[in-house]
């Protein structure tokens, strides 16, 4: 076993894991608040990437420096994807919640929204893979290490860490964070204490969409191509990561995502890349047999 190859796979897995984590956060936060699996979340990630591509192409044509391009494109992607998250919540989930519909109805609505967005982008854009400019520059000082850990991967990892720190701060120490925690524990009680529960839910969707958009633009820039279908498989993988870590738990989503990233990276690197998804899901089944509520999930004991 060659150490460089091991490191290469390790950092490759870390990168995948970071991206999964950025998407998984949206799943796990929404689930934590309204116990809904928002299947349209993968599409938000895809829309983030498309927005990034469109804005980046325009700005590059205008001849802006690459740093300005990446910052403006990312900001646009975040705003646009957040607006989508906001709208999806308002038209696909809130009416059902107001009508006290069963949770299954909201789930079907989520799947419908996911298919709608996929096909909408397919029609409005194209079914082909579109080349995505590599916005993240190669740093010179990083040159000696770039054969095992590329600059782009480094940037993805650091961005993820920063997002995690901001999010932890938001949830632990801010007023809206406290309101989010209160709402996730007991919605009725939260509203009786003066919390506008609907606003908290909307905010959660917006934050989740923003992190997914960051993930979308980072991975698109790293891989170099996007298409309308990219959100589906990434969304499923991130969902797996969220379940693996214990859905509803934010550190759980990150741990689940990293484990999934490394599993895929090592198995494909040492065994066969044909079986990438097989290993990922086999691992999920294995962990869920040992810990049914996920790694950090709380097992719910019903009091009788």
């Amino acid at each position: 076993m060659d150490f460089d190859y091991f490191s290469y796979l390790f950092f490759g897995g870390l990168t995948r894991g970071s991206i999964y984590a950025l998407i998984a956060l949206g799943y796990t936060m929404v689930y934590g608040i309204i116990q809904l699996i928002n299947f349209a979340h993968g599409e938000i990630y895809m829309i983030g990437a498309f927005t990034g591509l469109i804005i980046a192409s325009v700005l590059t044509m205008m001849g802006l420096p690459s740093l300005a391009v990446i910052i403006i494109a990312a900001a646009a992607a975040i705003i646009y994807a957040s607006a989508y998250g906001f709208t999806i919540e308002k038209i696909a989930y809130k009416p059902l919640r107001d009508a006290n519909a069963p949770r299954l109805s909201a789930l079907i609505s989520a799947i419908g929204m996911s298919l709608f967005l996929q096909n909408y982008v397919l029609l409005a854009q194209t079914s082909d893979f579109l080349p995505f400019p590599s916005l993240i520059p190669d740093f010179e000082f990083w040159e000696p290490y770039s054969h095992i850990w590329t600059s782009a991967e480094l940037v993805i990892f650091i961005t993820t860490v920063i997002v995690m720190i901001l999010l932890t701060f938001l949830i632990k120490f801010t007023k809206i964070g406290k309101a989010m925690r209160a709402t996730s524990q007991d919605k009725t009680m939260a509203s009786l204490l003066g919390i506008n529960v609907n606003r908290v839910i909307t905010f959660t969707f917006v934050v989740g969409s923003a992190t997914a958009a960051i993930g979308g633009i980072l991975i698109a820039s790293h891989i170099g191509q996007i298409n309308f279908y990219m959100g589906f498989i990434a969304g499923i993988k991130a969902f797996v990561a969220a379940v693996l870590g214990g859905i509803g738990s934010i550190p759980g989503a990150v741990i689940g995502a990293l484990i999934l990233g490394w599993t895929e990276s090592f198995f494909t690197g040492y065994i066969s890349s044909d079986y990438e998804d097989v290993f990922a899901f086999l691992f999920l089944v294995g962990i869920l047999i040992l810990r049914p509520s996920g790694i950090l999930g709380k097992s719910e004991t019903q009091k009788v």
Binding site: F173, K175, T188, L192, L193, G194, I195
Partner: protein, 262 residues
């Protein structure tokens, strides 16, 4: 003077069942009132209706904390709370994975303004507001007598302290009327006595009126200025503890009608 809470002819029907049937109840400033009745009489449903959790089928709910009378029908629970009604539940519903202080701070948030951006950039106004909330929450805990648990997780508190924390959290929303749903449930006689003292202290020092649902008759009789008795969703009696004790309808509702057994 107008009553601070006036419920007129309120009905709450679930399908064919009228859990509350044309009920009239008025609560006056500075009063400790009790709502009693056998199990299933509709007492908790009454609380749910006036706090906005249920939408009453018909009737009116008015509040008049100051000069102006306002109608509460159809308002969401968070708005009702902002108008100055706070409540506790008969089963404990604390945010169990938060600290005692955080639980009370959440109640304070309903009366503060700071937004997300303020929290991230920590401007002076936000900081001042945060300090204000922490101080306010702490002083409420002191008044309620559970300040020694300030940084404990709510779930780790002894039972009596958890019940007190529920009251503290409700007080944090600055209510003019506090609705307590069986505050003494599961308490031993000593804890009940100190709860009795706490409720009187809140009324006298915090200027809050109180409406409580309670099954502990000793507590109800010693505490209440006015008692409302409901059965099958209808009011069957109203009066001072002495009047209620000797009311034949009340005795019938609680002990059953002798002639029925014959």
């Amino acid at each position: 003077m107008k009553p601070i809470l006036e419920v007129k002819n309120m009905t709450m029907a679930f399908g064919g069942l009228k859990a509350i049937d044309s009920l009239d109840i008025s609560i006056h400033q500075g009063e400790i009132a009790a709502l009693i009745g056998p199990n299933g009489a509709g007492k908790t449903t009454f609380f749910n209706c006036i706090t906005g959790i249920y939408k009453p089928t018909s009737g009116d709910i008015f509040i008049c904390p100051h000069e102006k009378q306002e109608r509460l029908n159809g308002l969401k629970p968070n708005i009702v709370t902002k108008k100055g009604l706070a409540r506790t539940f008969q089963n404990i519903r604390l945010f169990s994975s938060m600290t005692v202080l955080e639980n009370v701070m959440i109640g304070c948030h309903s009366i503060t303004k700071a937004g997300v951006l303020g929290a991230i950039f920590k401007n002076a106004a936000t900081k001042a507001e945060e300090n204000f909330i922490v101080e306010k929450a702490y002083s409420i805990l002191e008044k309620i007598g559970i300040e020694m648990y300030v940084d404990e997780l709510a779930t780790n508190l002894p039972y009596g302290a958890q019940r007190r924390l529920e009251i503290a959290r409700a007080m944090a929303t600055d209510p003019f009327l506090l609705l307590l749903d069986e505050p003494a449930a599961g308490m031993n006689p000593m804890e009940t006595k100190s709860l009795d003292d706490l409720i009187i202290k809140l009324r006298d020092e915090e200027n809050v009126s109180i409406l409580l649902i309670e099954h502990d008759m000793k507590l109800v009789m010693s505490l209440s200025d006015n008692i409302h008795v409901v059965d099958y969703g209808k009011k069957i009696a109203e009066g001072t503890p002495e009047q209620i004790k000797s009311n034949p309808d009340v005795i019938k509702a609680y002990l059953g009608d002798e002639s029925e057994d014959a």
